[in-house]
């Protein structure tokens, strides 16, 4: 009889939720909800981390805000769902979040499992960090044979690590944890010699160690880690919005549109700037995307251009001081290349 009551209640509550969720597209859903539900990292300083007041900040977080600004014209209409590596894709799958912007590597298997990657907002690669004070004399990953390596489970990192040591015929002892905090704590306490994850992560976590200056990131990059936003497969319009939000940020940087001068720029005579900012007469670029025509203005007003987002969160304006490197604009020798907004 308990089964009956319980299962009945379960079915009823499920039905209630069903009624809420039955809607056509993600964009309509988001607009109806009145906010964007964005999946982010549980705590990767520089990319997504809450401060002690519970306010989120970081590179990925700014991307969430940019999407919110594009959809609502208001970057505050976004809620963050912190997700572990394990939870992130199921959460997107189940509709718990609308978009996943959580330094997720674009791989074929993930792309075919019912997800769509909309671009690469950060080109990363897996690296190694060691305690140079204790392990002086080691300056290459190829000297790491026999080391204990701290790594987070359920990531591409774990697989790359196994492949790298195997192909270089080196031995190692993996120390695997579920959560980033646990990996950090274990590495900091000296449980492992080596910490491996995406290089951006290494720079971020290094600052959270007891003695950051003792630790160095080794030069080798052992994998390609193109990190980007993910959406559910089958909603092309929503995927387009996320994709073009990224391109809008890049284009703004190319054209020199910044958070500070975007208002001014709307009055610019430059045809390209006018077009991008939706100032052309009878433009339909924004509305065709399902947004308003001043969507790029909203994005840049909210978070700045790609360069600003980068420098404020992880670059020179942050404690992490990560160089643009391959994330520079294509015109400056990097890989970031925006498709034309026209």
């Amino acid at each position: 009889m308990k089964n009956l009551v319980l299962k009945g209640a379960l079915a009823v509550s499920a039905l209630v939720l069903l009624a809420n969720a039955a809607s056509a597209t993600t964009l309509e859903d988001v607009k109806k909800k009145g906010f964007l539900q964005c999946g982010v990292n549980t705590g990767l300083p520089g990319f997504a981390a809450p401060n002690d007041k519970g306010e989120w900040s970081g590179f990925d977080v700014d991307y969430c805000r940019a999407v919110a600004a594009a959809v609502f014209g208001d970057p505050t209409k976004v809620k963050f769902t912190p997700l572990s590596a394990k939870d992130r894709l199921p959460a997107l799958q189940s509709g718990e979040i609308d978009v996943l912007i959580r330094n997720t590597t674009w791989t074929l298997s993930r792309d075919t499992q019912g997800f769509d990657f909309t671009g690469v907002n950060y080109y990363d690669g897996q690296g190694f960090m060691i305690n140079a004070k204790k392990l002086s004399g080691i300056n290459s990953a190829l000297q790491l044979s026999g080391a204990s390596v701290c790594v987070q489970s359920g990531t591409t990192t774990e697989l790359n690590l196994a492949d790298y040591f195997k192909s270089n015929k080196m031995e190692y002892n993996p120390v695997v944890f579920e959560k980033v905090e646990e990996v950090n704590a274990a590495y900091d306490s000296g449980r492992c010699d080596v910490y491996t994850t995406d290089q951006s992560g290494l720079y971020a976590y290094r600052l959270a160690l007891t003695a950051p200056d003792d630790h160095v990131v080794l030069p080798e990059i052992i994998s390609k880690e193109p990190l980007g936003p993910v959406v559910r497969q089958g909603d092309a319009q929503w995927a387009d919005i996320i994709r073009w939000t990224h391109y809008a940020l890049l284009t703004a940087e190319e054209l020199g549109i910044t958070k500070a001068n975007v208002e001014e720029m709307t009055k610019s005579d430059n045809t390209e700037i006018k077009r991008v900012l939706g100032q052309e007469a009878n433009t339909k670029l924004g509305t065709d995307l399902g947004l308003t025509n001043d969507w790029v203005v909203n994005i840049v007003k909210a978070v700045g251009n790609y360069g600003e987002v980068f420098e404020n969160n992880i670059g020179s304006g942050s404690p992490f001081k990560i160089a643009r490197g391959i994330n520079a604009q294509w015109s400056k020798g990097g890989l970031q290349y925006a498709m034309p907004i026209r």
Partner: protein
């Protein structure tokens, strides 16, 4: 249901009876339950299939034969590399779960008995220390105890290069406890034979000694003889073969100690935490069990002239065991289930390995099913064994 129908059968049963007949109502109720349940299961299966199709996920256990691609830090019983299959990885996980559970059960029982008896001690200080121990460990979550041991052990132990050197070529540092691994050469099999012969011999001696004591009242030092047999015979066997046994000693390498065998801090902290945590519960069970043995039993034993030691060993404990065993069984099962907390410190037990596989393949249903089957089997097997043991210990009445 138990509601009793006292209406005489026949009179009112003509019209309204069927609805008021408890038996009939029972059938109706059960039919409804079955129907609802079937419907629900159908609904769930239907949804699951739809969801899996939508996500282009296959189902079935075929993926277990695939290459795992990840490494596991501790696999003492199986050869495992990143080229092994998922199923091998799962076996490593199961064996690791069993290892930590068995080791934990042994120490938890020892701790529990010592503390439980200590709580009944006449010695005030011992009693209080034991009480504090029990009250502290019983009332905090096991997960916290595990973290505490892990971070505590890690922060106290030195780095690999400043290892604490212990006797017999063993070392202790924050990478774990290193000890020489025995390497068996040809002819070592005889030692195994010796060990088995020793155990069999010890059992036979015990049987003979009991028989003799029954007949003549004379006692025989069974314990020491057995120990001699079990240790002596393998040694003798080795001596005959000229000691075909060498040890692989751990030596300091560039990062760490190389060679030898290793017990990692993950295992140690999990093992210690489970032992101490469960030990506090076992202590309470033991205390209750001993107090459950009537005072008259002790007094009668004293009156027979038994000293304190034999009284405890021969009179109190065997009777207390009857009270102790059933709750002890559930504590053993709890310990085994709590070993799944290994995931928090990165010890590769079944749940941790399964979690990694779940992550890499997305096969949540299959992995959860494997978890359930394995844990349920362990539970059932433990219950069967403990029931057998309980039956053996039970009061034999005519």
């Amino acid at each position: 249901m138990a509601s009793q129908d006292i209406t005489p059968v026949g009179r009112s049963s003509a019209k309204a009876s069927l609805l008021y007949d408890p038996k009939f109502r029972g059938y109706i109720f059960q039919t409804i339950t079955v129907l609802v349940l079937t419907g629900l299961i159908y609904w769930i299966v239907h949804n699951t299939v739809a969801n899996l199709q939508r996500a282009h996920l296959a189902s079935g256990f075929g993926f277990l034969d695939g290459r795992s691609g990840f490494d596991i830090s501790s696999s003492p019983f199986l050869r495992y590399t990143s080229d092994s299959t998922y199923i091998t990885a799962l076996w490593v996980g199961i064996l690791n779960t069993l290892t930590v559970a068995v080791a934990g059960i042994i120490t938890a029982t020892m701790i529990g008995f010592i503390i439980g008896i200590g709580r009944l001690s006449h010695n005030w200080l011992i009693r209080k220390i034991c009480t504090v121990y029990v009250e502290v460990f019983r009332n905090i979550p096991p997960l916290l105890v595990i973290f505490f041991w892990y971070l505590g052990v890690l922060s106290v132990l030195p780095q690999a290069r400043q290892s604490i050197t212990l006797p017999f070529g063993t070392y202790l540092n924050n990478r774990g406890f290193f000890f020489p691994a025995p390497v068996f050469a040809d002819g070592a099999w005889l030692a195994g034979v010796g060990l088995i012969a020793g155990i069999v011999g010890a059992l036979l001696v015990r049987r003979w000694a009991t028989k003799r004591q029954m007949a003549t009242g004379q006692q025989f030092p069974v314990g020491i003889t057995s120990l001699g047999l079990i240790i002596g015979l393998p040694l003798l066997a080795l001596a005959i073969k000229g000691f075909p046994l060498s040890f692989d000693y751990p030596v300091l390498g560039s990062f760490n100690l190389k060679g030898g065998a290793l017990i990692g801090p993950e295992f140690m902290s999990l093992f210690l935490a489970l032992s101490f945590y469960t030990g506090s519960f076992i202590a309470e069970i033991v205390r209750a069990g001993i107090r459950g043995v009537g005072k008259g039993q002790t007094e009668a034993a004293n009156a027979l002239g038994l000293r304190a030691g034999p009284t405890t060993r021969l009179v109190v404990v065997p009777q207390a065991m009857r009270i102790i065993i059933p709750p002890l069984t559930s504590q053993y099962l709890n310990l085994t289930k709590n070993s799944s907390l290994a995931v928090a410190v990165g010890y590769p037990d079944l749940v941790a390995v399964g979690g990694t596989i779940l992550n890499q393949t997305g096969r949540s249903i299959e992995v959860v099913a494997i978890w359930m089957v394995v844990y349920l089997s362990i539970s059932v097997l433990t219950s069967i064994f403990m029931n057998w043991f309980n039956a053996k210990m039970a009061l034999v009445e005519r």
